[in-house]
């Protein structure tokens, strides 16, 4: 279950990170090329499915699918919450980026 949870968190992080908006937020205006973005997203989806496979091995089919769907939602929400505060943590460690977040906070 813990392995599955880790896989889900990693998968969602990759999918979310590959979205141009989020990537830009974390890496201040950085840009990902199209094929690379698709590849990252593909790996993310594969990780999500791997979690289902892990859970199906330790539980009966009905419970595995049910818990997978629930955990899918919960882990995605956690990733969203982490992403919400990530730009601030990153900028706290990189002082030169402060002006960027500072401006954003006021808008």
């Amino acid at each position: 279950m813990i392995v599955a949870f880790a896989l889900l968190m990693a998968g969602w992080s990759l999918i979310a990170g590959s979205q141009p908006k989020q990537y830009g937020r974390v890496f201040h205006g950085g840009h990902l090329s199209g094929p690379l973005r698709k590849a990252i997203r593909g790996v993310g989806v594969a990780l999500l499915l791997a979690a289902l496979a892990v859970m199906a091995r330790s539980d009966s089919a009905a419970f595995a699918v049910l818990s997978w769907v629930c955990l899918l939602s919960v882990s995605a929400m956690l990733v969203a919450l982490i992403l919400a505060w990530l730009p601030r943590w990153v900028s706290a460690r990189r002082p030169q980026a402060d002006s960027v977040t500072g401006r954003r906070q006021r808008t």
Partner: protein, 506 residues
């Protein structure tokens, strides 16, 4: 679509929040029961004999009940419960020790199983079943809200991870609404639909009428294989409960029963409906056996095997969570809270985006909705805390103005709720911070009162396996207190919108 989403959300949002909140608490109904009924914080005996249930059965016979429902104790609910309906239509519940069979003192509370849980699906409005219909309508509208929400915000699927707490309250609220809504969408849809499907025979009886005509009562017998026979008015003793359970298990194989329903108790025609506990399957009814209480013969047995009935029970079971699966139980709790956040932020966004305009135009709409929203969000938390506090403060067997303990607890709940509405109306926007602070104080004092009145403080409760439910509720109350205090501080420190606007202009 936008219109449907906005207005059905505003009109039914408060009710939906109450239903979701009570449903989320019901995930841990048995644990709240232990917290509110200290005499039932018992350890299950290493070897449980079904014969221990006899005193509970005899109490029902003495009360001349037409049928006695006996709940088999288990880890989450370590008491033998006897429930029956009296001649005047009221219900009696008595609790018995699972080790000795001795009756436990009356706990004088409806706790979670008989107050919070029925609130979830009837709002405790019993008159003409009107509560069922209101909740049913809310369930339908929840699904309509999910569909219309997706239609309006088609593009948010592109960036559904976006939550920007650093932005203005209005924007951050909408972000949170989208995150909780889109990422929790499967749960919200499935939980609303499955809640409705449980009661399909109440909500959509026309198909039953169409195929059964006048004998609609046969539906239960054919769909669930139920059995009934009238009393013979001749006294007889019931054979050993262990023998009854052994016979039932012979019919369904592996698995213990979760309840024994004794019909015609004390009569020569006494028979027992044994229901297999669905701990290991999702569906809520896995097998039923009817045993003759005098001869011990199997009268009838049924297993769900007809496809539509199996599907219905699977959907109902996934809502009831009667299975033994702690991970799923916690996930349901978390997702239920996400549903609460979704509804609360939806209401809040409506208020935030209209407050300024309504104030300029001298309209009261935003003010009224805000007061109702405050009362239905932080208000129901306060009312719940007051309900639990009154439970720890009132001594057993107390009566005030002719009202018994059960009635006082419920009155406290409703008065506290009403008070939060009045406060919200008077205090306006400031009510949020104020009520969050009250939640923090109340939740913390509930933990303190539990320690003082029962001696089961957090450290002691954690040390014993059987009091983990109590420890869990205490921990959740403390967490609630911390979160509420943090939110109150953040809200109190926030610049009011007028001042922020002035600063922006300057």
């Amino acid at each position: 679509m936008n219109w449907l989403h906005t207005w059905s959300g505003v009109v039914l949002g408060s009710l939906l929040f109450a239903i979701f909140w009570m449903g989320t608490l019901s995930v841990f109904d048995k644990e709240i029961d232990r917290w509110m009924m200290p005499a039932t914080r018992l350890a299950m005996p290493a070897a449980f004999s079904y014969e221990t249930m006899r005193p509970a059965y005899l109490a029902g016979v003495a009360a001349k009940a037409p049928a006695v429902l006996l709940l088999v104790p288990n880890e989450r609910n370590p008491v033998v419960t006897a429930l029956w309906r009296n001649a005047d239509g009221s219900f009696t519940q008595r609790l018995f020790d699972p080790s000795t069979g001795a009756e436990l003192p009356d706990q004088g509370t409806l706790a979670a199983s008989r107050f919070i849980y029925p609130f979830h699906y009837t709002l405790n409005l019993k008159m003409f079943g009107v509560g069922y219909w209101i909740v049913g309508l809310c369930g339908m509208m929840m699904m309509a809200l999910c569909v219309s929400g997706v239609v309006i915000h088609r593009k948010i699927f592109a960036d559904f991870f976006t939550f920007r707490p650093e932005r203005k309250v209005g924007r951050a609220t909408l972000d949170l609404h989208n995150v909780a809504g889109v990422l929790g969408l499967p749960f919200h849809v499935v939980i609303s639909l499955s809640g409705l499907v449980i009661l399909f025979a109440i909500y959509f009886p026309s198909s039953i009428w169409a195929v059964y005509g006048k004998d609609a009562r046969l539906f239960g017998r054919e769909a669930y294989g139920s059995y009934a026979r009238p009393p013979a008015k001749q006294a007889a003793d019931l054979i050993s409960f262990d023998a009854i359970v052994a016979r039932a298990k012979a019919s369904w194989g592996q698995g213990e029963p979760n309840y024994l329903y004794v019909f015609n108790p004390g009569d020569a025609t006494v028979y027992v409906q044994a229901n297999r506990a669905s701990e290991d399957v999702v569906g809520n009814i896995s097998a039923v056996a009817y045993i003759d209480g005098v001869s011990g013969d199997l009268l009838a047995a049924s297993k769900p095997e007809k496809p539509a009935a199996v599907v219905q029970r699977f959907i109902a079971g996934l809502h009831f969570i009667q299975f033994r699966h702690w991970t799923l139980r916690w996930l349901y709790f978390g997702l239920g809270l996400a549903g609460c956040v979704l509804i609360a932020t939806g209401l809040l966004f409506w208020v935030e985006s209209r407050r300024e305009r309504h104030r300029r135009l001298g309209r009261s709409g935003a003010g009224i909705v805000e007061a109702v929203t405050v009362a239905s969000v932080t208000g129901i938390l306060i009312a719940t805390c007051c309900y639990m506090i009154s439970n720890r403060v009132l001594p057993l067997g107390v009566t005030v103005l002719g009202l018994d303990r059960i009635a006082i607890e419920i009155i406290v709940f409703h008065l506290a709720w009403l008070a939060t509405l009045l406060h919200a109306w008077v205090a306006g926007r400031k009510a949020w911070a104020g009520q969050c602070m009250v939640v923090a104080v109340l939740a913390a004092s509930a933990v303190l009162l539990n320690a003082l009145t029962t001696g089961d403080h957090l450290l002691k409760a954690v040390a014993h396996r059987h009091s983990w439910p109590v420890a869990g509720i205490d921990a959740m109350l403390l967490l609630t207190a911390v979160v509420a205090a943090l939110v109150a501080r953040r809200l109190a420190g926030e610049r009011p919108p007028e001042r922020a606007a002035r600063e922006a202009r300057a």
